[in-house]
């Protein structure tokens, strides 16, 4: 079916909008990296290459991202096997809980980690109580701290993708290997793992790009260790714009290379029919107890930082000094917060900005779904690419690109001053939300059976009635999932906010940061808890909706 003229015009508008939002600012950054006052120049690139600091940051980014992938896989893959292959009490609840860190804003995870393992955190207090030495022998700083914190939240990618793949895996493949005489080990290495390869590659890529763009952990724990996302901020604050642009390009390239490499996957093992996955096995006796203990132990260990955050939100300011556990608990922090308008403001800001970004990105995603999937307009590939692009581009890069594009008033170049206004953050959130919203929504559109439209039409329903009574109800779970992810992403954003916020529009994440700087741990914890609860609730509701279709 050829797309109608109206649909084609609408597609043109959507493409123009996306180009303006997604591609244009990044292209401006790239231009600024090679454009000097006197024409095109490679001077800034040379300056970048000549500075050892820049190289350090570049290699630092690369190796810490690679190491994060390895460590995340080491945690996430065995965890997935444990929770999908063995039955033990509490398996379902714990299995869902250990996936939660993926829905939590990175900054919240970082802060929680700090409260637990930092120099003045729980672990240090316990050490003090046991050994009597007030100085903990470790410092949560430098590359190892970054690595730990990142692996601690990003293992979830490996966990979720491996578990999903294991559940799709036909149980009889392993049985076939067994009946052909293969030992457990041989079945694992020769059959199961190769079949998991697409999932593992996907998880590795996702972890790598996320780690590469990761800003919160290096910013808070980095110390003297340089990575590109924090380096960009520092360079920019020093006023060296052109160099910051080159750094931005340098950060984008590995992400794009990784993305290109990953698309050359092997055969997809998931598309096999069959009687379904091997069911989780219940194990009795001593091994069974060991498996239960292992599952519970790992889950509790992985959720400990977040529990710490909740606990600390109930500890009033300056009541916890040298005791192993805080001596006083009250809701004082929550009360303080609720009664101080200047401290409630960030909460209000975050909420309305997240709502605006979510609504806008859902509308764009639905428009894209109609045009790309149902009307099959020309340029649909372009629309999809533009929607997915912000996923591959680190948040720092986008923030910088927006700061560049919308800091001058040049209406003929489609540029205007938005930086410093209330609109820049919702706009930034919207761009970050586009891929997370459009992916589930487009998938939802693709799963709609086109014959349903024809059936509705044959029953006399007009196009609008069909859309409202048939398509939209069927799409609701996908839209709910997309909206939930978008809301969570925007609500917890830190990376783009730190570059673009103004005092009046400061979001919760920045309030957490400034509370930390003031030593106001209780308030920081309260904000962390609020973010955590809001994200977890919305995320669970969204995935619940998606599951009940």
């Amino acid at each position: 079916m050829k797309a109608s003229r109206g649909a084609q015009v609408a597609a043109g508008i959507v493409i123009a909008l996306l180009v303006w939002l997604v591609a244009y600012p990044v292209l401006l950054v790239m231009r600024d990296a090679i454009a000097g006052p006197g024409g095109w120049t490679l001077g800034y690139v040379r300056a970048f290459l000549a500075r050892p600091n820049e190289w350090q940051a570049f290699w630092g980014s690369l190796w810490i991202s690679g190491a994060t992938v390895a460590l995340s896989a080491l945690i996430g893959v065995p965890l997935a096997f444990l929770f999908s292959r063995f039955e033990f009490p509490g398996r379902r609840v714990l299995g869902a809980l250990v996936a939660l860190p993926v829905a939590l804003p990175p900054l919240v995870g970082v802060v929680a980690f700090l409260f637990l393992y930092g120099e003045t955190g729980f672990a240090a207090h316990l050490y003090d109580a046991i050994t009597g030495s007030p100085m903990a022998p470790w410092r949560l700083e430098g590359p190892w701290a970054i690595l730990l914190v990142q692996a601690y939240s990003m293992y979830v990618y490996f966990y979720l993708l491996t578990r999903a793949a294991l559940e799709r895996l036909e149980g009889s493949a392993a049985e076939a290997a067994a009946s052909l005489g293969a030992s457990r080990w041989r079945t694992l290495t020769r059959v199961t793992l190769p079949l998991l390869r697409p999932a593992l590659t996907g998880a590795a890529l996702l972890t790598f790009t996320t780690a590469l763009a990761s800003f919160s952990a290096p910013y808070i724990f980095g110390g003297g260790f340089r990575v590109l996302p924090t380096q960009i901020l520092a360079t920019r604050l020093n006023g060296d714009y052109a160099l910051a642009m080159v750094e931005t390009v340098a950060l984008t390239l590995p992400a794009l290379v990784a993305l290109a490499l990953s698309t050359r996957g092997g055969p997809d093992a998931s598309a096999r029919g069959g009687k379904g996955a091997a069911p989780a096995r219940a194990i009795g006796g001593r091994t069974g107890v060991a498996v239960s203990v292992l599952g519970w132990g790992l889950a509790l260990f992985l959720l400990l930082p977040h529990a710490t955050l909740v606990l600390l939100s109930f500890v009033p300011v300056a009541t916890w000094t040298t005791q192993p556990l805080p001596p006083v608990y009250s809701v004082a922090n929550y009360v303080t917060l609720a009664h101080d308008p200047t401290r409630v403001l960030p909460l209000v800001n975050s909420l309305w900005m997240a709502v605006v970004a979510t609504v806008a990105s859902v509308l764009i995603a639905i428009a894209a779904g109609v045009l790309v999937v149902r009307r099959r307009v020309r340029g649909r590939g372009t629309i999809e690419t533009l929607l997915a692009a912000p996923w591959a581009v680190p948040g720092t890069v986008f923030a910088l690109a927006l700061a560049t594009a919308f800091s001058v008033h040049e209406p003929w170049a489609a540029r205007m001053v938005l930086v410093g206004t209330v609109w820049i953050l919702p706009l930034a959130y919207l761009i970050r939300d586009l891929p997370v919203t459009s992916r589930p929504v487009l998938t939802g559109f693709r799963q709609l059976d086109p014959t349903l439209d024809e059936a509705a039409a044959a029953l006399g329903a007009g196009r609008w009635t069909t859309w409202r009574r048939v398509a939209l109800p069927l799409l609701r779970p996908a839209i709910a999932a997309g909206a939930a992810l978008a809301f969570v992403t925007a609500l917890g954003d830190f990376v783009t906010s730190i570059l673009l916020y103004t005092y009046d529009t400061r979001p919760m994440s920045l309030e957490i940061l400034s509370s930390l700087r003031d030593g106001d741990i209780g308030v920081a914890a309260v904000f962390g808890v609020v973010l955590m609860l809001a994200s977890a609730t919305v995320f669970l509701l969204g995935s619940e909706r998606a599951a009940t279709r």
Partner: protein, 352 residues
Amino acid sequence: MPYLSLESLTKSFGDVRAVDRLSLDLDRGRILALLGPSGSGKTTTLRLLGGFEAPDAGRIVVDGDDVTRLPPQRRRFGMVFQHYALFPHLDVGRNVAFGLETLGIRGAELERKVGAALALVDLDGLARRRVDQLSGGQQQRVALARALAPEPRVLLLDEPLSNLDPTLRERTRRELRGVISRVGITTVLVTHDQEDAFDLGDRVAVLRGGQLEQVGTPDQLYAEPASPFVAGFVGRSSRLDAMLEESGADRVFVRIGKVRLTLPGPRPPQPPGPVVLVARPEAWRMVEPGPGDLHGPVIARRFTGALAFFTVQVADGVIVEVAAEPAAAQVGDQVGLLPHDRGIHLFRGDAR
């Protein structure tokens, strides 16, 4: 001495007895078909044989060797799965080589055996093909070659033909039969399809609710069903409630409603009382309706070529299916039915 013995196998899942004290014997080189409706325990039996489930009680003995507690890896039983379970990341040749490699076979020997296994199922030259590029029938043959390549002691087939469309099904069945007899391997197969069971099985075991209902050659099952269930599950039949009035040496008198019917032919003596009468469609002769026969209108006629099947309503809610010449009657005709001396079986009234 049988080659393969199942001795009183029992397996429960929760409260459900999936397999209940099942005993079966099979001679070397013969094919046993496990036939039954879904939930009859046939697949569980096969999985017990394969070692994928452990029985609660009972033994499995192969060639004098008790394998009940052996894991699948050490049983040397080949299995063809219902959906084939081919390894999608390996090509056809690597799939077939998989079991040989676990035996430590390498190099030229490996290539030779893979080639031989593929030749056996008529797939020479497809070794480097990806498995998802094969048709359903070809995938089934690869699965068969893969299972046979390590020269297992017993071959297990789980619904081997259920994934094929009807036209392919009959040809594949013939080829399967050919391969099994050429290899001469002792085979157990599971099916819910009577035609598959009759065509492939030297012996057929009918299962029901986890228990063995009857085992025998296809001819025996058809001609001498041990229960109304077997008579109903194997072949077509009609079922009538009747009263056995008198049992003689070469004839039996039964009453169906108001009609007293004489069933000719020798049959074991039975005490008078309520019985279930199960009749094959070819057990009846169509006659002009009279007082000494079952009679009623023809309410449906199904034409199949050489024969037609007539549905005759002999009383309210009681219908009998009769096979006869296509021209024997029309829908609406009043016909009478008299029994031949074969094809009618009597079971005790409480039998099921």
